[in-house]
Symmetry: C2
Subunit: 458 residues, 2 copies
């Protein structure tokens, strides 16, 4: 895709330089809104307003929605009131609410002034809900039907009002604003008789979410049930909006990025990497780096305590990085696997004992293979090839025994901490590699020196 845009971009630039506006327009209208937005992002800022004005009304609005907030703000600032009104009126309510949330206050005032009163009311309603809640991402534009309508009447209603709805494919049946059923346009079209009542063909196995449900759960439910849209109800079970699959896909991407950032000891950010300044990256990375650095004090203290032993057998030091890394890697394998399974709802707290038992058996297998390989490596590479005579069989045994025990400890901690974190209401994703590594480091050193003391200095 990227290559494609680069070529289109240079063609458009050349046409723009030659002021060939009608050719430009002819090309742009063959393109998809999200591709046009991508090209606009790459152009000089002072040229985008000109290009944007070439787009027909509907395409302009669709393209506008796909742009990054910076470019949207730039365009709005250049719009006359009537241009702004045209774009705003073409937006779906949930996109308009997103826009209002991203823009600075003075731009927001202009946008709301250009929205009609009904839309203004709906935008304000959506903005009332907390960030990441179902209410904040829903749209209030859905098709609602009544139980006593016939199939024919329902189709007529859709044909009359459907143009402004985000989706017409799932229709919701309400009674005094309460959701009593739903059906798809497929059900309507395939109904044997146009005189059938909606109440006879509607599905009453309603799956809905509350306005306060977390958006991640909403996305998972849409994916689980393969729905095109999920209805959102308030505390009195009244239908207030719907969330469509395309918004759920965006949420899934967002939430995965957030999880991955947390796993890498980064505070999650809403901005993409390219749009983040070094200062912003710094602010999101430094807290965990500081915390983890300070907590490494313990490993330092452990080494200091065994300083005399290390001074007598300096060769032991040379295996510390390998032991720490292997422990950290083993632990993060377990923690990351469990964190992912938790976020896909495959695991529950009640599985804890089973998970630990599975990890113990896996750790034993890994431990045996790793320590055998390690023993061979030490005796062949370190002792024979590198000719380090300090590396005795006893040293090799101490290292390998430590490794096997470290892997065991690392896997148990790695799998159980995320589950415990979730149980007490913390985010399991934080219990990933960096955090686990810090704990496993300290434990592996303790095991190392304990075994070394027993075997070498007995």
């Amino acid at each position: 895709m990227a290559e494609h845009n680069v070529t289109v971009e240079s063609t458009l630039k050349a046409l723009l330089n030659d002021k060939k506006y009608s050719t430009l327009k002819d090309i742009l209208i063959t393109m998809n809104p999200s591709d046009i937005a991508a090209v606009f992002e790459e152009l000089d800022e002072d040229r985008t307003p000109l290009l944007f004005r070439l787009l027909p009304k509907e395409l302009a609005a669709d393209t506008f929605v796909e742009m990054e907030p910076e470019l949207q703000e730039l365009l709005i600032k250049g719009f006359s009131d009537s241009e702004l009104r045209e774009v705003v009126q073409e937006l779906y309510v949930d996109d308009a609410a997103d826009l209002v949330e991203e823009m600075p206050a003075n731009v927001v005032r202009r946008i709301l002034a250009q929205a009609d009163p009904q839309m203004r009311k709906e935008i304000n309603e959506i903005l009332r809900y907390p960030e990441n809640s179902a209410g904040s991402i829903m749209t209030t534009e859905y098709v609602d039907l009544r139980k006593d309508m016939t199939v024919g009447e329902a189709i007529t209603r859709i044909r009359r009002t459907g143009i402004d709805k985000e989706t017409i494919y799932t229709c919701y049946v309400t009674e005094a604003r309460t959701l009593v059923g739903f059906l798809s346009v497929k059900d309507l079209l395939l109904a044997p008789d146009d005189e059938d009542k909606i109440s006879e063909i509607m599905d009453t196995k309603i799956i809905s979410v509350n306005t306060m449900t977390d958006q991640e759960e909403v996305a998972q439910m849409l994916s689980k049930y393969n729905f095109l849209a999920l209805p959102v109800v308030d505390n009195e079970n009244r239908l207030v909006g719907i969330i469509t699959f395309d918004d759920a896909m965006d949420v899934m991407e967002e939430e995965v990025t957030e999880d991955i950032e947390k796993m890498a000891a980064i505070l999650p950010s809403d901005k993409t990497y390219l749009r983040s300044s070094p200062w912003e990256l710094f602010k999101h990375r430094i807290p965990w780096l500081l915390l983890l650095m300070v907590s490494a004090t313990f490993t330092g203290m452990i080494i200091t305590r065994f300083e005399d032993a290390l001074a007598a057998q300096v060769v032991l030091t040379s295996f510390i990085p390998m032991l720490m890394d292997t422990g950290g890697n083993s632990g993060s394998q377990s923690s990351v696997t469990v964190i992912r399974a938790l976020s896909l709802d495959e695991l529950e707290f009640s599985d804890l004992v089973g998970v630990i038992w599975k990890e113990i058996r896996t750790a034993v297998l890994c431990g045996i293979v790793l320590s055998a390989a390690c023993f061979a490596k030490i005796m062949i590479v370190d002792r024979l090839l590198l000719g380090n005579t300090e590396v005795t069989v006893f040293v090799a045994l101490v290292v390998c025994l430590t490794m096997a025990l470290t892997v065991l400890v690392a896997k148990i901690i790695g799998c159980s901490l995320p589950m415990l974190a979730k149980k007490i209401g913390f985010d399991p994703a934080v219990m990933a590699s960096p955090f686990i590594t810090t704990i496993v480091d300290a434990l592996s050193l303790l095991v190392y020196f304990a075994i070394a003391s027993a075997v070498l200095f007995a």
Copy 2:
């Protein structure tokens, strides 16, 4: 959701024990297929066939699709040929192809024997495509229209043939099997006049994928363009199938899990955590553990080379874990951020210099704060509170300078390796924490001993 299933499960078990089959059936038919499947997974194996037979035909097939392969196999083995035929005939072709792929050969033969010839042909066609290709996940059941049809004729065609189509909402217009346009049922229903020709209202900005396109790219395109379905064409540009958004959501989940596994040095697996045996977990984890352990030989060699220096100043050893961990964490922050941006198509290789420059500035900020904090921590905690007199101002300076340089090196390597990997055709996700850590460990030790030699042993 989980809590809910647990309760339903115990109710169903009680009813099953009391042989109250009609009540059981009444409850089951109010449930959603994916919830019924979840309950079935939790029941004793010998009871599921009985319960499954209580489900009406269509619900039975929908529930069957949502089950894990083990349970599907168990059920099929208990089915009579006519029962199997009923389930198979209700399946969409892509689900049937998935099933055939998962089952052992003898079960596959029975399934194919019960499918009608047309379905058998289509299943075989889908199975021809390589794993993870668009062809392998597409369905061949779509609505195709002709350019010269009227809106009214098109609606009639959908009403007549729609029942067997996976989606009717996006219809494809073909001419001699070549895709020439598409339109939505919304376009059809909202068309001003039933006599309008399809060619007048269809959209000709076709976005399609080839049968060999990677499934991850397909999922990203569906998400980018907010399409309900994407058409799949062969090398002669003939329409051969479609991929719907729900399959794309599954692909997204799968691919993210795979990326996360790779980032944690695990070979990706198709099986969920709970379904993997310790032996399988072991096989997916040990290769990277072994490789990373052996590559830690270099850190050992570096320490051995500076053994004399360490023996003279054992206190230096106590800071090795902190330096290594901070370096590893800094590097994995950068690598994971860049890997995620690459997989979301936000970054390209041409951004490399910009990315490195951004990471350098971030690293300088992080390095200043970390080494200042580290200096304070060493002087206050290690020297004053713990009374370690070996920890001099010079030692603290050596440690802090090393830390700042390590952070810088780690961030540069962390951001550039994934981009280089992608450029030369490797998977960037492999260049995450464990891999970066191993490299950064060795470099940080080299920096440490070089600075220590210069400052302390000059």
